[in-house]
Symmetry: C2
Subunit: 441 residues, 2 copies
């Protein structure tokens, strides 16, 4: 808190001496129609009336983005990426203008800004641009005039081309965090259709509990392991600039989950051992059989995949069969990129020198995440024991200092998640749902 | 033609030495859905393949603008004009991106530009901005790269605020003409859902003929008199910069109507006496009774109306009744502004000093337009004779050197238009539909 307060208290931002600054982000389902927009407008107005400066990031309404993509594919088999960004940014444009109007009719002055107008500077990569910098001069001016600033999420400006860019799906969360960092906001509130971050997917584990608090590291690993509530890039941005995120429901007034650093006001927080169990059924597995067991084989294989711009998740290399001088390598990747990966490997078949390629799309991944794992022995033993007791066969294993992930059959994922959730005593006792993990801040 | 060619041949635009430049404008009904967009894309691509440089201005698809206005009114009783412009400009943004993609999939490279990106500089009046200047550097660069440039119609940038503005309904035509003027285009093609400009509304006069050619002055008067095919401001812009407009159908390959100056290649064109008959049922009449017949009365009356930003059309003052020293004034105005006008007059009732206000919304206007009128006597006599023979009573008269307009009862308009059209021998003989008025250019 103190460093942010200091930043906002510098003389060039005199208005920051007065009111706390809250950045709020509302996703597409929170602004799906006019009635939903009015509800969001009311919440924003209430936040302003409670004595906060407010900056709001908004996504396109409901299914707008999907509808626009469908239109694009109906007029072009391969739409140009630059024009696609022009098209898709119309969605946030509509939402931000309507939200500003709706807040205005609550009696609170509001102004809407596109990503470029808000000073969101990005790389040139249309459809998957990264935020380089935020120059929030126009937003600061609006705030100084007592206005709520509404900013289109998901978009920015590539300064050399002067063209609008999009950050890709989930980019609105990153916009919100980037604005919060640039403005030295006290909190970045991410509004969503769930109550916060849970110890597991409540659709699979009805006894899953809402976490009151989670660290950036844990949230990063949960997000990378399949938890959909936040995107890893957004959490990474928040961690880098130490922006406190509050994930909460736009349909209730409940406290949600705080995503914060592992120290608060200089003191290390007491950490629970386990934050949660994540799962992911969107990956596929490739096994490359009969590779020469000589230096450089793996490099050659993964260079060919990397050239196709495919992110690899887990990698396992079998112990070499010394009598043949051959080995096998298995790896996982997003199932949507499987065909591209196979093409990439086959196109360098001679260079890599394998005997056979096998693919498997019926896999699932279960991940256990918790910063307290670092200092607790016995976590792995308990985890694998729970899997065994549930009759779940483990096909691949990968670990980091705060995460254990395994690959199983896809149809075993639900059983595995429930078994691990119970084994680590994460199941909620009645009435205990919001007390886990501390007081929040 | 020669001055435009000269402009395009200046050394700073070297590419202009090579290909003719065509600016095309497609309205909302021409791009109502994906199939319509593909048809337009094909026509644009054909124009480019025929050896032209092409710049396209496009409106929002179908009912998009109306839908967005409805959304705005559902979240705010009085939407802010700045935010309204942000909202409405999303419509053209969608259309221009999709059209660029569709042209690209025809194998012709195309790039889309917003009004601000295209260098359309306007006044600050949100919702009714006027174009001040066009700085078409980005368009020229795209053309030089062999690309079709797609430009969002109806919008521009107010440079001081760096906010997007809209030109108001019909602004897309003006955008097209302004771009054609700035780029020194050889022609500005306005595509619409009718075949061109007709001697009368074909729904009222089935024998109405398509004009092959009409002068700017005639088109201005027809447009101001109720002909909906072009807006007066667009024609005025074209006249000022001598941009030839070709009004034609986006559903056929037929020649439409050329709107040009009254000299072509230095020679004055032979002019038909009458270009057409226009009508308008959207006006209302106000009669102010018992005004003091002293200097300054009319000024005071119309100053009060002007302050409400209302455009007056026709004005008639009765011959003063000398025994009372009082007179009456009648004037017409858009019926949509009648209430505002009455409020404005009533609020200055003491200053104006009238006895009574009467209003009438059941009026219609019939206008006869033709540049040849200037040198032909007997036009008025024939006009009024036709009205008399059709049993139409005339309530007000107004004339210019190329136009006669009268006010009648609204339910007499159709009879009056048909009678005048026949009297001036404008009715088409079978097969003669496109020969009237010369060869076009």
């Amino acid at each position: 808190m103190s460093d942010r307060a200091l930043r906002r208290a510098t003389p060039i931002f005199p208005w920051s001496l007065t009111l706390p600054l809250v950045v709020q982000k509302y996703g597409g389902s929170s602004v799906a129609d006019a009635a939903a927009l009015r509800r969001v407008a009311h919440r924003v107005a209430e936040t302003a009336r409670a004595g906060n400066d407010v900056v709001v990031t908004v996504s396109a309404m409901g299914d707008t983005t999907d509808d626009l993509i469908e239109l694009a594919t109906s007029v072009s088999a391969a739409p140009d990426a630059r024009e696609m960004d022009i098209l898709l940014t119309a969605g946030e444009r509509i939402a931000m203008a309507l939200l500003a109007m709706a807040i205005g009719s609550e009696g609170v002055p509001a102004q809407a800004f596109t990503g470029p107008q808000a000073g969101v500077i990005t790389t040139e990569h249309h459809g998957r641009a990264r935020i380089i910098d935020v120059a929030p001069g126009r937003l600061q001016k609006a705030i100084a005039q007592g206005k709520v600033a509404i900013v289109a999420g998901f978009q920015g400006l590539h300064p050399e081309s002067q063209d609008v860019t999009t950050l890709g799906r989930g980019g609105s969360d990153t916009t919100a965090v980037a604005l919060a960092a640039a403005l030295g906001a006290d909190v970045c509130e991410i509004y969503t259709d769930v109550d916060g971050v849970f110890t597991a997917d409540p659709r699979i584990v009805p006894a899953a509990r809402k976490l009151a608090r989670i660290t950036y590291d844990e949230m990063m690993d949960l997000a990378a392991s399949g938890a959909k509530v936040l995107m890893p890039r957004c959490v990474e941005y928040a961690r880098r600039y130490n922006v406190p995120i509050h994930v909460r429901s736009s349909f209730s007034g409940l406290e949600g989950t705080w995503v914060v650093g592992d120290t608060v006001e200089g003191e290390t927080m007491e950490e629970p051992i386990i934050a949660g169990v994540a799962h992911d059924r969107s990956e596929a597995k490739v096994t490359v059989i009969g590779l020469p067991d000589v230096p450089g084989t793996a490099a050659r294989l993964f260079e060919s995949v990397a050239r196709a711009d495919i992110n690899i998740d887990m990698i396992v290399q079998n112990v070499s069969a010394t009598e043949t001088g051959l080995t096998d390598i298995s790896f996982t990747l997003p199932a949507t990129r499987l065909d591209d990966a196979i093409s990439a490997i086959q196109s360098d078949a001679d260079g890599i020198g394998y005997q056979e390629l096998r693919t498997d799309v019926s896999i699932g991944k279960i991940s256990l995440v918790g910063a307290g794992m670092r200092s607790n022995s016995g976590v792995s033993a308990l985890f694998f024991g729970a899997m065994r007791d549930a009759g779940v066969n483990i096909e691949m294993i990968s670990t980091s200092d705060i995460r254990i992930s395994v690959i199983t059959r896809a149809d075993k994922v639900d059983d595995a998640v429930r078994a691990v959730h119970t084994a680590f005593e994460l199941d909620s006792l009645e009435g205990e749902a919001v007390v886990y993990g501390g007081s929040g801040r």
